[in-house]
């Protein structure tokens, strides 16, 4: 068994023989032409042919993957007839007397280099488009037909990298998945693979050897794992996953685009908890409405020193722009207690759960907080941002944190750096103090998000990491549920929304309770979104609401 690791960019498990993509290599001849007018006509004819082909591909893509995929080829058409591109080719033919193939090759290299040098990853990836368009014109000039798949059975296709037109020209009925040596997350191969629902793994480098061709390979697009000649255990494990994913996909098809609404019309937002911008594709694939909790700790855990403002800004910006305008709530630094980071040099504490952690660290060390807030507000120009502070106990803490936000906004205004005026500021409700003060706290913020893991631990004074306390640590405890109701009532009385971002959100036995007390949002892991949606859609809240609310306050309730 050989295991190779790449980056999964399109989910799903596929099994089949490995096939290496055969690309017709045309070596470009380079020579001086006598009749430059005739050479220019050759180019114009090839350009027209390429534009026609792209028109046909656009139609094919429209049928297979929809309007978005078709637009890609329509854009390629426009690139093929771009004025500046055409002028550069014309100059190369007329002034340098180059043959058309060489003129196109040189111009392509020049334009691709310009995109490759740009800062933004999206624009960098466009270098591949220029090359793709140019290759097509060259194919039309030389008459060499591009490669395909010569296999009687469906295959896992391996290639160095696939251009969008190669991807769409392939016979999809014979492809089970893609593995490429290079490629990027925002490359069209990844995008098209996702649209077509085929698993794809990129960036395996030279780990995938040509001699593996024809051997059985299993790829897992969610983990980026490629296994050649899997042993029995790995094989059955992956096949089981494939089966689960098939069921999930069926569920997704049924539930995608459906509202999170009960049979009697009460709706609740279902968002996702994520730990890095890399999780965003999973959020979108599961059709969540937004991100309810983006844990910013990973930025700090991945570094050997305090992460810089720019480094943080790029990560937040990526998550916000990838979410395409859907809301993303980012929680400010939440370390301390069970999450320790060496370079913070925090003294060892007797009782870390009650110690210097989360917002407390931020307020004690404002320089760290200041850097993070600047990165956050700068990123706010790229999407719909919410900022949430963890581990709040007092009104003054929120006021101080908000003052810091105002200071950052003033600085950015002075520096002429854009930011959004519509950033929502919220707090986590995790401590009994925050529950009891929620009527006052609600006046200071735009939303509450209940972190039920810590809330349970603090309400019940029970360490959630102590295995011996299992039966004492009960998140269904009426004290916890009453706390949630109190928070919810105080939030609504003050016109703000309230969500749950702890583990409890996915507990389907409590979904009715959350609906009954009026929670506005549940933030769960991406793969829990659809099962939760299904549960909500099966519920008729009118039938159970009264009883649930009575039970919460009942004397009988003696857990």
């Amino acid at each position: 068994m050989i295991s190779v690791q790449g980056k999964g960019v399109s989910g799903g498990v596929a099994i089949g023989p490995l096939y290496c993509y055969q690309r017709a290599k045309s070596t470009i001849r380079r020579y001086e032409v006598e009749d430059v007018d005739a050479e220019w006509d050759r180019f114009k004819a090839a350009q027209t042919k390429a534009i026609e082909q792209l028109g046909e591909l656009a139609e094919k893509a429209r049928e297979e993957a929809g309007d978005e995929a078709a637009l890609l080829f329509e854009t390629h058409q426009m690139m093929a007839e771009d004025m500046e591109y055409e002028e550069a080719i014309q100059t190369a033919i007329r002034d340098k007397k180059l043959n058309a193939e060489a003129a196109v090759t040189d111009t392509a290299a020049q334009f691709a280099a310009r995109f490759a040098a740009m800062e933004d990853a999206y624009f960098q990836a466009r270098a591949a488009d220029v090359k793709d368009v140019s290759d097509r014109i060259i194919s039309a000039l030389t008459g060499v037909v591009r490669g395909g798949i010569d296999s009687p059975v469906p295959v896992i296709l391996a290639a160095d990298d696939l251009s969008p037109s190669e991807t769409v020209q392939l016979d999809k009925s014979r492809i089970l998945g893609f593995v490429t040596e290079g490629g990027s997350d925002s490359g069209h191969t990844a995008i098209l693979a996702r649209t077509m629902g085929i698993p794809a793994i990129i960036g395996v480098g030279d780990q995938l050897k040509p001699e593996y061709e024809g051997r059985e390979v299993i790829i897992d697009g969610s983990t980026g794992n490629v296994v050649i000649d899997a042993d029995e255990d790995a094989r059955s494990c992956l096949l089981r996953k494939m089966e689960e994913q098939k069921k999930m996909r069926e569920l997704l098809e049924q539930l995608k685009g459906q509202p999170n609404e009960t049979k009697d019309g009460q709706s609740i937002r279902v968002y996702c908890n994520i730990g890095s911008p890399d999780d965003v594709p999973a959020v979108l694939a599961n059709d969540a409405g937004g991100v309810g909790l983006f844990r910013s700790e990973f930025l700090y855990l991945n570094c050997d020193d305090y992460p810089t403002e720019d480094y943080q800004f790029e990560a937040y910006k990526k998550a916000l722009s990838d979410m395409g305008g859907k809301e993303v709530v980012i929680r400010t630094l939440d370390i301390g207690a069970d999450k320790q980071i060496g370079y913070f040099d925090l003294p060892k504490e007797e009782n870390p759960a009650m110690g210097n952690r989360a917002l407390r660290i931020c307020l004690n060390r404002p320089e760290i907080f200041h850097t993070q807030l600047r990165a956050l507000f700068r990123a706010s120009a790229f999407g719909k941002l919410g900022i949430m502070f963890p581990m709040v106990t007092s009104v003054w803490e929120v006021k101080e944190a908000r003052k810091m936000c105002e200071r950052v906004k003033e600085e950015l205004t002075k520096e002429g750096i854009p930011f959004s005026d519509h950033v929502e500021i919220g707090i986590m409700i995790e401590t009994p103090a925050a529950v009891l003060m929620s009527d006052r706290l609600a006046k200071e913020v735009d939303f509450f998000s209940c972190g039920t893991n810590d809330l349970t631990q603090y309400m019940l004074a029970c360490d959630r990491q102590n295995a011996d306390l299992g039966r004492f640590y009960n998140p269904h405890h009426p004290a916890v549920l009453r706390a949630l109701k109190m928070v919810c009532d105080n939030a609504h009385r003050n016109g703000i929304w309230v969500g749950i971002c702890g583990e409890l959100g996915v507990d389907l036995s409590l979904t009715e309770t959350f609906l009954a007390i009026g929670i506005d949002e549940l933030s769960v892991s991406p793969h829990s979104v659809l099962p939760l949606r299904q549960k909500i859609r099966e519920t008729t809240i009118f039938d159970v609401k009264q009883k649930i609310l009575e039970d919460l306050l009942s004397d009988e309730n003696t857990i």
Binding site: L71, L72, D120, R126, S321
Partner: protein, 85 residues
């Protein structure tokens, strides 16, 4: 000559697709349309040059329209920016 300023709201900025649609729109008019950002100016008929400016969300661009049909063209192109970018 007519001109207007516009701040980009599209999360990805003037990327391939909107740039393509912009070129298509500009082609309808006889006027010369120029997009200016940070001292750099580009003829709006040049797709790759437009993309090459790397115009992002939050960037403010100046657009000038000059030619026989500049009144109608400027109004239509400003509408186009509002609707698509």
């Amino acid at each position: 000559m007519k001109s207007f300023e516009y701040t980009i709201t599209d999360p990805v900025g003037i990327h391939a697709r909107p740039a393509g649609i912009l070129v298509r729109e500009v082609k309808k008019y006889a006027s010369t349309v120029t997009v200016i950002k940070g001292g750099k100016s580009v003829n709006a008929l040049k797709l790759m040059a437009l993309m090459g400016m790397g115009i992002k969300q939050g960037d403010t661009v100046e657009v000038t329209v000059e030619g026989a049909d500049e009144d109608t063209a400027a109004a239509a192109i400003e509408e186009f920016f509002k609707a698509n970018l």
